[in-house]
């Protein structure tokens, strides 16, 4: 009996031990305690989870998160700051003075063991401190996700002392826009993913660039109700059937933003679009970023022509909007009321917006009222205020050729009229406060969000006017409505802007909040890969100077931009960062040794290709119908520079394949994507060359060559799109494939069929 009892107990104990052994998770790595405040702000709590995730992924650590101290903790990380986490009190002397963006990693001793303070001057900055810690472990935040280090450094909490304050205080990433290969094609899930990556890269604002013909807002004015609400200028992009690269679409029949794809009418589309935009705004703000909305102030859906008799269609691919005609008065109450109604509609629909960016027409015809407008500016500025308009026009003409002179003067006059309009629009201070997202404080003493704002930072809320003509820069503060800033669009490409050193210096001397628009990839030839790291680095240098509050990026396709986003991010905190150092720092931890040289060489070649296109044909691949066949219709021989661009892409592709071959245990997703992307660029150049040759052969009546070159062109484009499809990882990539099928591949096939039929006759 006793024996049986002993045996039973032994068995029971064995089972219990077995159960315990299997129930307790096994961790191969170290034990780490993360200590957080008792009621941390949500973003700080999120930062702690991020930190725990990093430690688990890199070291397989056994991480405990608690608001109380553990007696047995071998390693402790304190997260927050003295205001949010009471456990920081013993280390008060160690805590530096920080701005709302400053953040710290600092080793301390806790119970005779090494410990680490991770925190910042705001919850957002605390989150950045966590991501900075991850960065030092070798984690690299690409725009598409995180890559983890091939050989992480030994985990240690002692000997760390990092204090970071930005040297570029406003770091803005633009989202949405109008083409399928921009982020307008992304559903909310994808948007959230990239927002998280941007937050890790310490971007602190996003601008949502919208257009009046899109379905993001609905409004009525004087009996007219908005009824235009489409994406992609109203174009549709089928991907069923014989679509090159269709493997990327997972069986979808039509390309669209997934969140809007099921909407069948205006109301459904508007509702879906509102959910999307509201979701982006909420997600960005949760991550500590402010959100601005960019919209054209004087462009309206075409149905509103009925209430603006002098309006004209705004030139564009689909004529979906109207704007002021040449003789429209900028102080016309009807125009101002309509513009207000539209802006109000956005602010009502998205009441938590932090900033507004009002854009002027790209190709202004609104010029007739410039003389009157300038007189009003002169009157506002008082005696000795402004030069004559005639003298400004002479300055604008400069040494340009005759056609360019006409354009320059027209641009200047249009800009003056637009600025005068803004004065009329923004004079109502009560309305202006309303416009500034219903916050309590008057500008510029802006309130701060309780969760993440820096109360001392005046950057969080403002109205920005996009673009002021360079000729007007010396008089900037006299031309702007009070308490507005300027987002400066100086030229299309970073290379061109970097050449305007004097203008950049002149802007920085003006006492207004200036932000520089950095073109990461120009939309005029955005289909093909671009890189402008050297120029962008030069421009980041410029915006570090007093007079600038920061930058906003401009691009559409996000796939190539991991290095660019990283360079701008690191350069905004460390003036010593260069494109080369950023590249090595980005690539080596996650891809391994020996790879950064290849990637650097590849990007050097892509920069050469970018410059060649910029210099020779800025509109080389503007993605509208005819983007390919325009080369068929030309009677010009194949330009020599095309071959150079093609070779750049080819060699860049080879370099990336070499890098990819070597990145055996590391971030091959990064190198392979770029290899395929550059392969696409190579095939695109092959395609247009063959198209041009086919067109020339057609002119000569050489049908055999015409058919052969058309076949070659189709095959090249097919190959290029397949290369993209093989690595497509966002709806931007899929959008690019869809656009080129609709505007390039299918028209080419139709042309081939027609040529074959013609040849058979």
């Amino acid at each position: 009996m006793v024996l049986r009892s002993v045996l039973s107990w032994t068995l029971a104990l064995c089972f219990a031990a077995l159960f315990l052994l299997t129930a307790i998770p096994v961790h191969a790595g170290p034990q780490i305690d993360i200590v957080i405040g008792k009621s941390p702000p949500p973003l700080e709590r999120f930062a702690v989870d991020e930190l725990a995730d990093q430690l688990r992924k890199v070291y397989e650590a056994d991480v405990r998160i608690s608001s109380s101290l553990a007696d047995d903790s071998p390693a402790t990380i304190f997260v927050g700051n003295p205001d949010t986490n009471g456990h920081f009190k013993p280390f008060a002397a160690k805590w530096p003075k920080l701005s709302g963006q400053g953040h710290v990693l600092r080793s301390v001793t806790h119970r005779d063991r090494p410990a680490l303070l991770v925190g910042g001057g705001s919850p957002a900055a605390t989150y950045w401190a966590v991501t900075e810690f991850g960065h030092r472990l070798g984690i690299r935040s690409m725009l598409y996700g995180d890559l983890y280090p091939v050989s992480p450094p030994p985990l240690k909490l002692d000997g760390i002392d990092v204090v970071m304050e930005p040297v570029v205080r406003l770091r803005t990433w633009r989202m949405l826009d109008e083409l399928p290969f921009g982020t307008a094609a992304w559903g909310l899930d994808e948007q959230r993913r990239v927002l998280k990556q941007l937050a890790k890269l310490k971007y602190n604002r996003v601008i949502l660039s919208t257009h009046p013909w899109q379905p993001f807002v609905h409004f009525k004015f004087n009996g007219v109700e908005k009824s235009t609400g489409v994406m992609w200028h109203g174009w549709t992009f089928p991907v069923a059937g014989d679509t090159a690269g269709r493997a990327a679409f997972g069986g979808a029949k039509v390309f669209d933003n997934p969140d809007l794809a099921t909407a069948t009418n205006y109301d459904e589309r508007s509702a879906a679009a509102h959910r999307l935009l509201q979701g982006i705004i909420g997600s960005a703000q949760e991550l500590g970023m402010s959100v601005g909305l960019a919209l054209p102030a004087v462009e309206f859906p075409k149905e509103f022509a009925a209430v603006l008799p002098t309006s004209k269609p705004v030139p564009g691919p689909s004529n979906l909007t109207v704007g002021p005609g040449p003789d429209q008065r900028p102080d016309d109450p009807a125009l101002i009321a309509l513009a207000m109604a539209q802006i109000h509609a956005y602010l009502d629909a998205y009441p938590s917006l932090d900033a507004v960016y009002l854009t002027a027409p790209h190709f202004p015809e609104w010029t007739d009222a410039a003389d009157d407008a300038w007189k009003r500016f002169a009157a506002r500025s008082g005696t000795g205020g402004l030069p004559s308009l005639e003298s400004l026009e002479e300055t604008a003409k400069g040494n340009l050729d005759p056609a360019a002179k006409v354009f320059a003067v027209r641009a200047l006059r249009g800009n003056i009229v637009a600025l005068d309009f803004y004065h009329h629009l923004l004079t109502d201070r009560k309305w202006l406060r309303r416009m500034l997202h219903l916050r309590q404080s008057p500008i510029p003493e802006l309130q701060s969000s309780p969760t993440h704002r820096d109360p001392n930072d005046p950057l969080d809320t403002e109205v920005n006017l996009v673009h002021v003509d360079p000729v007007l820069v010396p008089h900037l503060e006299k031309l702007l409505p009070k308490r507005t800033g300027v987002l400066h669009f100086i030229d299309h490409t970073a290379r061109r802007v970097a050449a305007h050193g004097d203008l950049l210096a002149a802007i920085s001397a003006r006492p207004v909040p200036n932000t520089l628009l950095l073109t990461l990839a120009d939309n005029n030839y955005e289909i093909v890969p671009q890189a402008s790291h050297l120029s962008l680095n030069h421009l980041v240098d410029a915006v570090r100077q007093p007079g600038w509050v920061g930058f906003t990026v401009r691009y559409r396709s996000i796939g190539d931009l991991d290095l660019t986003a990283y360079l701008l991010s690191r350069g905004s905190f460390d003036p010593k960062v260069t494109p080369q150092s950023a590249l090595v720092d980005l690539v080596t931890p996650v891809c391994g040794e020996g790879i950064s040289d290849r990637v650097a060489k590849a990007f050097e070649l892509i920069e050469q290709a970018t410059t060649l296109i910029d210099v020779n044909d800025l509109g080389f691949s503007f993605p509208i119908p005819g983007v390919i066949l325009k080369h068929y219709d030309s009677d010009q021989p194949v330009p020599e520079w095309w071959g150079k661009v093609r070779d750049c892409y080819l060699n860049a592709m080879n370099e990336m394949y070499r890098a990819n071959t070597r990145a055996r245990e590391g971030g091959r997703s990064y190198t392979l994507y770029l290899a395929r992307r550059f392969e696409f660029g190579f095939e695109y150049m092959n395609c247009v060359e063959a198209v041009r040759k086919a067109g020339l052969a057609k002119r000569k009546g050489d049908t055999e060559t015409q058919l052969a070159e058309l076949e070659k062109a189709i095959e090249s484009l097919h190959g290029g799109l397949n290369a993209m499809a093989a690595v497509a990882r966002s709806n931007s990539d899929r959008g690019l494939i869809a656009v080129l099928n609709e505007f390039g591949y299918r028209p080419l096939k139709r042309e081939l069929e027609a040529a074959e039929k013609s040849a058979q006759k």
């Binding site: 059937g241 040794e593 040289d597 070597r662 055996r664």
Partner: protein, 569 residues
């Protein structure tokens, strides 16, 4: 793991037995193994049909061969369970007898496989040709004429069919390898096995970890997976009969494994041509024990499937590879002959007909480009013209060290030439489609090459198909060429089949048509014959890298994710 009792007999005539004795053995075992099958109309292997030939003589020679197979198999089931239907039995036996006679008379016997079966990669003896007389559809799509379809998961291995059952593989999760059995007629899922893969090796897209095509002898399904080696699963329930671990394949450029086993008699033959230790295995089909292994040190990575060649009174296992086509004795694995006319890279599989082996070359580069060119182009990361140890994959470091004769830590000059490519086999690229007579001994390079043509622009050429008088190949861009199989005379060269893109799948043939599957998921149907005649272009809606299977009037098309069975209604 469940082990079965050892079975000394070959399992099925579908595994290409030779000679009367083997046929009889095959039937005996095949009969036992089919008791638990549920044959559907017509989906029946030929095993039983053959056994009766020597026993019952030949009668009713005009009987439909296919019908004979079907009935024969059905009787195999009846034989054990009931003896009442003598009339059916008698008819079946006569039909089956006729089938055997046909085979003997018309030369199909040695590699004979019933038309209803497609038991390995590219079908019977990798021929890619269906011999069924049943009509096959010309126009179809992912929704039209689809008898059934099923979402499987990622994979590029081809389906196989035996005894009315279809077997196919897929990745069913990030690290789960799946083997599926379906009723070929209805698509009913019969069983599914899943295996943890462990740490997966590096591969290069578009390769998949589920890349190998199974083979079957009607009793077991033989499957290869890179981290598991060879597995034999019971066709009835998918349970593991045996597992034979193999060394992991290693590729200098990380292509990844994609070799497929075949079954010859009671031998599973598996050729693993990698860049590290290429080797040909002969494994006992019943027990999984190694019968023989033959190293192929002069080979580089490649994916040629072994084929069986009967010629000159001998049976050879023929395997293509770097520089050489080699015939092996299936009993011992010893080399019988070699023909040194191939280029460096052979991704394709040969085909055999009437004792002649046809090879088309998926190659790259010109004839002078040896492996050194590729190594210095892609592995020499810093482009200094030398290979450092860190520049090559770790798996190759011991070989690197052996090749670094002067111990300076880098390979340069001659060291690069011979580090990974055999010094006596430094062949380059090439541009060839060849016909080589089988049945040789020793070096047959100068004696057995029937013809060797240089086709323009040879890169990315598919495996050849020989059907009727025609040898057909297709390449990237949808460029096709056709030659007279007997003479090599060109029918057409680089004719477009109206479907550009890549071609990883081999063309297959049946019912007087060629089915050419593009990576973009379009299946182009051509009329067999000496004129390029596109009959249809059919959209399967998703990327296809696998070679389709044909059995009993049905085409089984394995997309990257989905398996389709299309047939005439």
């Amino acid at each position: 793991m469940r082990h079965r009792e050892s079975e000394s007999m070959p399992s099925s005539i579908c595994a290409a037995p030779t000679g009367r004795h083997s046929i009889a053995q095959g039937v005996a075992v095949g009969y036992r193994s089919t008791n638990d099958l549920k044959p559907q109309r017509g989906e029946i292997p030929s095993a039983f049909a053959a056994v009766v030939a020597p026993l019952w003589g030949f009668a009713d020679i005009s009987a439909n061969v296919t019908q004979g197979c079907a009935l024969g198999y059905r009787i195999a089931s009846l034989w054990d369970s009931t003896a009442t239907d003598r009339a059916v039995l008698s008819t079946a036996i006569r039909s089956a007898s006729a089938l055997v006679i046909c085979c003997v008379l018309f030369g199909g016997a040695p590699q004979f496989v019933c038309a209803e079966d497609w038991p390995q990669f590219r079908g019977p003896n990798a021929s890619s040709v269906s011999t069924s007389a049943k009509p096959l559809p010309t126009d179809f799509s992912a929704t039209d004429k689809v008898r059934w379809s099923v979402k499987l998961g990622d994979g590029v291995g081809s389906p196989i069919v035996s005894g009315g059952k279809l077997f196919v593989t897929a990745m069913v999760g990030e690290q789960r390898f799946g083997v599926f059995a379906f009723d070929a007629a209805s698509g009913e899922r019969l069983w599914q096995r899943e295996f943890d893969t462990g740490k997966l090796p590096r591969i290069t897209p578009p390769n998949s970890h589920a890349s190998s095509t199974p083979a079957t002898d009607g009793k077991r399904v033989y499957v290869h997976f890179s981290t598991l080696g060879l597995l034999a699963l019971d066709v009835a329930d998918g349970l593991t009969v045996w597992q034979h671990a193999l060394p992991p394949a290693a590729f200098l450029m990380d292509w990844g494994a994609a070799a497929s086993p075949i079954v010859y008699k009671d031998l599973v033959v598996f050729n693993q041509d990698d860049d590290l230790a290429p080797v040909l295995f002969g494994v006992d089909a019943n027990t999984g024990k190694l019968r023989w292994r033959t190293e192929r040190p002069e080979m580089l990575g490649g994916y040629a499937v072994p084929v069986v060649c009967e010629a000159n009174g001998q049976t050879d296992i023929v395997v293509g590879g770097t520089g050489k086509l080699i015939g092996y004795d299936p009993e011992t694995g010893r080399v019988r002959w070699n023909c040194n006319t191939l280029p460096r890279t052979l991704m394709t599989s040969p085909v055999v007909r009437d004792g002649v082996i046809y090879v088309s070359v998926q190659s790259y580069g010109d004839e002078t480009r040896t492996l050194k060119f590729a190594l210095l182009e892609w592995l020499d990361t810093n482009q200094d013209g030398e290979l450092a140890r860190a520049e090559i994959p770790k798996e190759f470091w011991p070989r690197f060290d052996r090749s670094d004769k002067n111990g300076d830590g880098v390979l340069k000059g001659l060291e690069v030439d011979t580090a990974f490519q055999a010094s006596d086999n430094l062949v380059g690229g090439g541009t060839t489609i060849q016909a080589i007579r089988g049945g040789g001994r020793g070096d047959v390079t100068k004696t057995h090459v029937l013809w060797n043509i240089k086709n323009r622009s040879p890169s990315n050429l598919s495996s050849p198909i020989v059907v009727g008088e025609q040898l057909f190949v297709v390449k990237k861009g949808g460029l096709s060429s056709s030659f007279d199989a007997a003479t090599g005379k060109t029918h057409w060269e680089l004719g477009r089949i109206r479907n550009i893109g890549d071609y990883f799948s081999s063309p297959v043939a049946g019912d007087g048509k060629l089915y050419v599957t593009g990576e973009n998921g379009f299946v182009v149907v051509l009329a067999q014959g000496s004129k390029l005649n596109v009959l249809a272009k059919n959209d399967m809606g998703e990327s296809c890298l696998a070679t389709p299977a044909i059995a009993d009037g049905k085409i089984f098309i394995r997309g990257r994710q989905t398996l389709f069975c299309v047939s005439e209604p």
